[in-house]
Amino acid sequence: MTIKVRYFASLKDSLGRSDDCVTDTGSLSVHDVWQRLNAAQALPTNVLVAVNMDYVTLDTIVKDGDEVAFFPPVTGG
């Protein structure tokens, strides 16, 4: 399966990129996706995560074609 990954705002700046791609044959949670891509960097404690543009928890299992997003607390309005 292939998972598209996106980063936003200060998290995008600290990682130095705005997107990634994961290809895997096993079962992956959102947290697993982060670790596959950013093993050297701990997931920020206040990070928000979304799958297909809906908020989810880190233990959510992703499926082929999903778009996973990691971003800091939102500050609009």
């Binding site: 936003f8 705002a9 200060s10 979304a50 939102v74 500050t75 609009g76 309005g77």
Partner: protein
């Protein structure tokens, strides 16, 4: 119900007047307008950039309006939110709610605005008078201590 993401300055009063021409049966309108300040956390801010997650922003705002409509008798709602480069005194956000009675208008507008602050994926980056750039890391509770 309409959600608009704008990458240029907008006039909220014209937006309301124009949209309201298509709303019928209302007896109450509640409006919130958020405007960019030229100060934050004790520093002078000369400009700001608003980033957003295109697609998720619209999806989450639609959900928020739907939740408000389930809780209060909302006839119609308009949300306009800026993205891109913004200058002090320019409007950032407009939330306008039309209802039959005032209680629904007040409550639904407040609910939508507070939910937008906590769930709509926008992020502010400030440009200070010193030319330092910094991300805004959190929202306040919306009150100034007296």
């Amino acid at each position: 119900m309409t959600i608009i993401i704008r990458n240029a300055a907008f006039n909220p009063w014209q937006e309301i007047q124009h949209y309201q021409d298509g709303v019928t049966g209302y007896g109450a309108t509640n409006i919130f307008i958020g405007t960019m300040r030229d100060f934050n956390d004790g520093d002078t801010v000369k400009a700001m950039t608003l980033e957003h997650y295109e697609g998720m922003t619209e999806k989450q705002l639609a959900k928020i309006v739907e939740q408000a409509s389930q809780q209060w008798a909302v006839l119609d709602a308009l949300i306009v939110h800026r993205v891109g480069d913004i200058l002090p005194n320019e409007p950032i956000v407009l939330v306008s709610v039309w209802t039959t009675h005032r209680g629904d208008a007040f409550d639904a507008c407040r609910f939508i605005m507070e939910a937008l602050k906590s769930h709509a994926p926008f992020w502010k980056k400030e440009l200070l008078i010193t030319d330092e750039e910094r991300w805004v890391t959190h929202n306040t509770d919306g009150y100034q201590s007296k």
